[in-house]
């Protein structure tokens, strides 16, 4: 518990960071920038887990352990995403998200 800080304050900060991530996702064109935005969102969510665990369910560990899992999965995801970005870069010599539209109908 942080003195003088309630759960709402922490969750509000996390919300702001999350929406900044969303904004980045919507406005950036570069695949790596998109990845960065996603990481922001993911981190904000982890903060929520931790804060809820700490403030609302202090007798339990589930939020804690979930945040550990999220971190692990995020690490895996980033590794995979970067591998994909490199492969795409080799293919197209570009990592602009808008160039990746071969699935267009």
């Amino acid at each position: 518990m942080i003195d003088g800080v309630g759960v709402y304050d922490i969750v509000a900060v996390a919300t702001i960071v999350f929406f900044v991530g969303v904004f980045g996702f919507l406005t950036r064109k570069n695949l790596i920038s998109l990845l960065i935005s996603i990481e922001l969102m993911l981190n904000a969510v982890v903060v929520n887990f931790v804060a809820f665990n700490k403030y609302l369910y202090p007798g339990r560990l589930d939020g804690y352990i979930f945040s550990l899992f999220v971190i692990a999965v995020a690490a895996a995801e980033v590794a995979l995403a970067i591998a994909l970005i490199i492969a795409l870069y080799r293919l197209d010599n570009s990592i602009e998200a808008d160039d990746m539209d071969s699935l267009q109908g």
Binding site: L26, L34, D101, Q104, G105
Partner: protein, 652 residues
């Protein structure tokens, strides 16, 4: 008594149809072998029908002589009966074999003529292209016709009715590279289809109000039609009256009754054995058979109003056809018109008949005439085919003096002409005499018409007889010769049958109420009809036996009338006018315009709208992930807002 074996009467021709149709028409199978390419398919077809013929004869013997009349009248037996499609507890389509006097008689007629025609065709069609195809169609026709005559219910009859229509179409159009044959096939099909539309509507009305398709139930005295109240009526006739009238329309189409007869003369474009089998002996009597099958209904419903229509249709048809037959040049067309005329006789006989005892003379006479006519008309056609085979022409002016070259054909043709002219002891005399007697008792005017027609018939038949076998002696490019034995044997057999069938005491076997009836010849009438027949023959002899200028002078004297009959009373032209000027220009063209512009326009408009709209929204699927994310985000926010608003959380 078990008649289960009668199923084999069908199965044999079905098997031969499948065998010939599937195997015989494949060059890959038959191309190499001389044997297979040759007559083997014809013999397979003939053999199968021969089997059916024997079985039909056995059936007839067992039915008429072994089974007899257990309780005073001949029973109705089912050789087979099973449900094909069940609609409700009471209504189902059945298939089966119904044996009663007329169906057994028809089995004999169909298989006899079919067998002899098959046999004849093995010679007549030899060397033709499509030999196997011909026999396949012929077998198909035989199956269909047999199915028609033994139908247990009106739906089965309709089913096979259409099948005979199809086989007739296929066989008329057998020479499909000849435009006139194709046109004739189409004409036959369309005209009979048009009539069958009436038949179908009639069946639907009848079965809707009667609640059954089954013949036995329909015609039974306490059945839904005859037992119940007359039901609702429309324009003076009860619903059953309308149904029977429409059904008769189908029968009139098939039996070439005026004014639906126009297809029959053109149907002569088919090979001659086909004309003999289908368009003389069997299929065209289907209409007569249909009326006979439903005869109690025709007799009772609306006090016999429809039956009078039947009688008059028959009478007018026979007169018109006989008049046209007098002036035609093509011998097959003369025979076709003669067939029409004789079918008119049969219809008329049914039309003037009653139900029981002596009243039922017309019914008996009609069936009798059907029986004898099948034999001598098939004989006439086969004889004509034999002549055509020899001189390679249908036209009478290309013939003459053939009696020296073709003695067997000549004699058998003469027998047939005498039979159709009603000279005793040939078969036509007996049946025609009974028809005249029946007409005389019912309606004097119809009797007068038929009496005149009898004389005209004798005249035109002997006109072609003298024209072909006597008349002008001429030299032929190829000396005509008698046909091979496979063709003359059927002629001889049919000639013998044409002589003998008249002596059958027909009333013993076939009557309207299935009770044996002992008829006797009405000698004053018979003498009168012999007299008119003899007059007709003598006039023809005077005109045509030796070349002279009498025919030309007669034609000149009767000027306009001659031209009218030669041009078949312009009935084809009237149809043409009605079809082109009224139906095509007056109805079809506006409807087509409406269809093309309004209906199609609507559909095209729908297509255009869809296309435009989809092009409009196609850009939504851009493949750009960020755009998707944005839409997703916006949608999520909107949804959350909606949920909050609905649950009232937004207001605290």
């Amino acid at each position: 008594m078990d008649f289960g074996y009668t199923i084999w009467i069908f199965v044999l021709p079905i098997l031969s149809f499948l065998a010939i149709g599937l195997l015989g028409t494949r060059p890959a199978l038959t191309g190499r072998s001389e044997l297979l390419r040759g007559r083997v398919w014809g013999w397979i077809g003939t053999g199968a029908v021969f089997g059916s013929w024997l079985l039909a004869l056995v059936t007839a013997y067992r039915y008429f002589f072994v089974l007899g009349t257990p309780d005073g009248h001949r029973p109705v037996v089912f050789g087979a009966k099973w449900v094909w499609m069940r609609f409700s507890e009471h209504l189902s389509f059945d298939m089966g074999i119904l044996l009663d006097p007329i169906s057994v008689m028809m089995l004999v007629v169909v298989t006899t003529v079919s067998f002899l025609v098959h046999l004849y065709s093995t010679g007549y069609m030899a060397g033709e292209r499509g030999y196997a195809r011909f026999f396949a169609f012929l077998s198909l026709f035989t199956v269909s016709m047999l199915g028609l005559v033994v139908a247990t219910n009106i739906f089965q009859m309709y089913f096979f009715w259409e099948l005979v229509g199809v086989s007739s179409y296929l066989l008329i159009g057998f020479y499909y590279d000849k435009p006139s044959a194709v046109a004739a096939a189409k004409k036959a099909f369309i005209v009979t289809r048009f009539a069958d539309l009436g038949f179908l509507i009639g069946i639907l009305i009848l079965s809707y109000y009667a609640g059954t398709f089954d013949f036995q139930t329909l015609v039974s005295a306490g059945g839904p039609v005859l037992g119940g109240p007359a039901g609702r009526s429309f324009m003076g006739l009860s619903v059953f009256g309308w149904a029977l009238g429409l059904i008769f329309m189908g029968g009139a189409g098939k039996s070439a009754m005026f004014p639906l007869h126009i297809w029959l003369p053109d149907a002569m474009e088919g090979p001659t054995p086909v004309s003999a089998l289908i368009h003389a002996a069997t299929m065209v009597v289907a209409g007569v058979y249909l009326v006979a099958r439903l005869f109690p209904l025709y007799h009772e419903v609306d006090g016999g109003a429809i039956l009078r229509l039947v009688a008059w249709t028959g009478g007018i048809t026979s007169l018109i056809a006989a008049l046209i037959a007098m002036t035609q040049e093509d011998i097959k067309r003369v025979l076709a018109y003669s067939t029409m005329s004789q079918l008119g006789y049969m219809m008329l006989a049914l039309g003037v008949s009653g139900l029981h005892g002596h009243e039922g003379l017309g019914y008996m006479a009609s069936m009798f005439h059907l029986f004898t006519h099948a034999m001598f008309k098939a004989l006439l056609f086969l004889g004509a085919g034999s002549v055509i085979h020899a001189v390679h022409s249908n036209l009478m002016r290309d013939m003459g003096g053939l009696r020296k070259y073709m003695p067997v054909t000549h004699l058998t043709f003469l027998v047939a002409c005498l039979a159709i002219s009603g000279i005793p002891p040939f078969s036509g005399f007996f049946s025609k005499d009974e028809i005249l007697a029946a007409a005389f008792e019912r309606d004097k005017l119809l009797f007068v018409i038929e009496y005149a027609v009898a004389g005209i018939t004798a005249f035109y038949m002997f006109r072609i007889y003298f024209g072909i076998f006597w008349g002008r002696e001429r030299t032929y490019a190829h000396t005509p010769h008698e046909s091979p034995a496979v063709m003359t044997i059927p002629l001889v057999v049919l000639a013998i049958l044409s002589v003998l069938t008249g002596l059958v005491p027909f009333g013993e076997y076939v009557t309207a109420d299935r009770t044996p009836y002992h008829g006797h010849i009405n000698w004053p009438l018979a003498l009168a009809s012999i007299a008119v027949g003899v007059v007709g023959i003598l006039v023809a002899k005077r005109f045509y036996q030796r070349p002279n200028d009498l025919p030309a002078r007669a034609a000149e004297m009767w000027g306009r009338w001659y031209k009218w009959t030669r041009d078949k009373f312009y009935i084809d032209e009237i149809y043409q006018f009605v079809a082109h000027k009224i139906m095509f220009a007056g109805i079809a063209a506006p409807v087509a315009w409406f269809d093309r512009h309004v209906v199609d326009g609507f559909m095209r408009g729908l297509g255009w709208m869809t296309e435009t709209f989809s092009l409009l929204i196609a850009d939504l699927q851009s493949g750009r992930v960020r755009q998707y994310a944005f839409v997703f985000m916006g949608g999520l926010i909107a949804l959350v807002l909606l949920v909050l608003f609905v649950t009232g959380l937004l207001n605290g």
